[in-house]
Amino acid sequence: MTAVLTQPRPIRLKGRSYLALTLTPELPFEDWLVRLDDLAGRSAGFFLRRPVVLDVEGLEIDRAQLRDLVGKLGARNVRIMGIEGARPSMLGNDLPPAMSGGKTTGDIEEPTAEPAKEAPVAESVAVTPAAPLPAKAVASIIVTQPVRSGQSIFAEGDVTIVGSVASGAEVIAGGSIHIYGTLRGRAMAGTLGNAEARIFCRKLEAELVGIDGYYKTAEDLEPSLRGKPVQFWLEGETFTGGSLA
């Protein structure tokens, strides 16, 4: 029998990029899970209902170990939507699909026209090697109202908030976060892999601050910074905070 096309309208498939948290487990998993529990315990609900990608690049593990890890994370309410950096042989139908290139992506790669030879180069001016194209301007936003409890602000670039961030609110930015008010909720900067990002606030009362995957919760923050104008940055792998005043 020949299948007859009765539906002239094709199914629409679209590509789209989303922001997901990436977890990078370390061996031995038992120790790593203890640390994860610690973070989750201090910041309840942090992983709940968030898309999480597991990055196992460079880990010497087998399929059973991976399945075990995904199961243990599932038991902690961490739902893995995909696995990055695993050999295809390790992933079966019972595991989340492989993900690759979890980097910032534009919607569609713009076809870069072959740089046409500068036709007649006037005189023999050495053509300076094409300066690296200016990074595509990422969307930065300015919020002119207080961020209320339960609200979530996200931008791929910088986030500037003219007002306070309430307890129970969160601000997530690919770039830096500037808060001209009190930070009482959570702020996560550089979430798209930008270790240069910083967090600034006029008054620090935060529940959690993080840059490029490194976090500090309220208890870990230096008590002397509380209530002060503060900035946070990364020094190598050390999460550092200092008074701005």
Partner: protein, 271 residues
């Protein structure tokens, strides 16, 4: 066209119903035509506070479902001629409130009254979101303690996103009503101070209602506090709040700042 006010808070037990009744009565006492609508379907209390519990025949849900006319459900207050109550249903649940039904009722009330005051249930579910949906003005009732302040903050976020005004790109007029305020305890640090609450919520202050036995006494005799004892401290605070709501610019007094007899004398001498 009348103005629609929602009295809301997020947290329960902070004084939404007491404030709805007191503000409604105070507005009516100034001569305006007022209706107070109870949106707390299933846990109605406004009829008790307003002393009309034995006069409820039809309710909001009956009107929405077309079982009664609006005029049949409205209860006129026996003390103030221009004050009306639209009670909630005690036997149904909030699922009986439909968005279209509420819109129709509010629309009809707006054309008959100067003020439509919607007493919102606690929480952020259906009843609360429907109560705030058609409002022009929101009065956020908050107690000076952290859980109440955070819940109010959440509600303000919803007022700025889930209401008709917000969806049309307009700004909802919001006022803070600080209730159950005890200056002595705030001074001792047992309560948040007025400035702390204002700093966190950053919306204009409509009034500060002192913690007082008069409020409890008034609700037990089924009378809004502004009707029960017009000279009591909470009643005066509600009257001031109403004048501010109507656009008057009154200095904000923190109740309880009254000095004793000697304090007054020395205060004057020093001035």
């Amino acid at each position: 066209m009348g103005k629609v006010i929602v009295v809301t808070s997020g947290k329960g037990g902070v004084g939404k119903t007491t404030s709805s009744a007191a503000l409604g009565a105070a507005l009516a006492q100034s001569g305006d035509k007022v209706v107070v609508v109870d949106f707390d379907v299933g846990l109605r209390n406004l009829d008790l506070i307003m002393g009309a519990e034995r006069r409820v025949v039809y309710d909001l849900v009956n009107v929405i479902q077309g079982e009664a006319k609006l005029t049949q459900a409205l209860i006129r207050d026996k003390r103030v001629e221009t004050l009306y109550l639209l009670p909630a249903s005690q036997t149904r649940d909030k699922d009986n409130l439909t968005s279209e039904g509420v819109e129709k009722v509010i629309g009809a009330l707006k054309s008959h009254f100067d003020w439509v005051i919607c007493d919102s249930p606690a929480g952020i579910e259906r009843g609360a979101t429907l109560a705030m949906r058609h409002a022009d003005i929101a009065i956020v009732v908050t107690n000076p303690e952290v859980s109440s302040v955070r819940d109010s903050d959440r509600i303000i976020g919803l007022l700025d996103s889930k209401t008709l005004k917000a969806e049309n790109g307009e700004r909802m007029e919001k006022h803070l009503l600080l209730t159950r305020y005890d200056p002595a305890r705030a001074e001792r640090g047992d309560m948040l101070k007025v400035d702390d609450v204002l700093e966190i919520l950053s919306i204009p202050l409509l009034g500060i209602i002192p913690e007082s036995m008069d409020v409890l006494r008034a609700s037990n005799i089924g009378s809004p506090v502004t009707l029960a004892d017009e000279r009591s401290a909470p009643a005066l605070a509600y009257f001031d709040a109403v004048r501010r709501l109507k656009g008057e610019n009154l200095p904000m007094t923190i109740p309880g700042e009254k000095r004793g007899f000697f304090g007054k004398i020395f205060g004057r001498k020093a001035a």
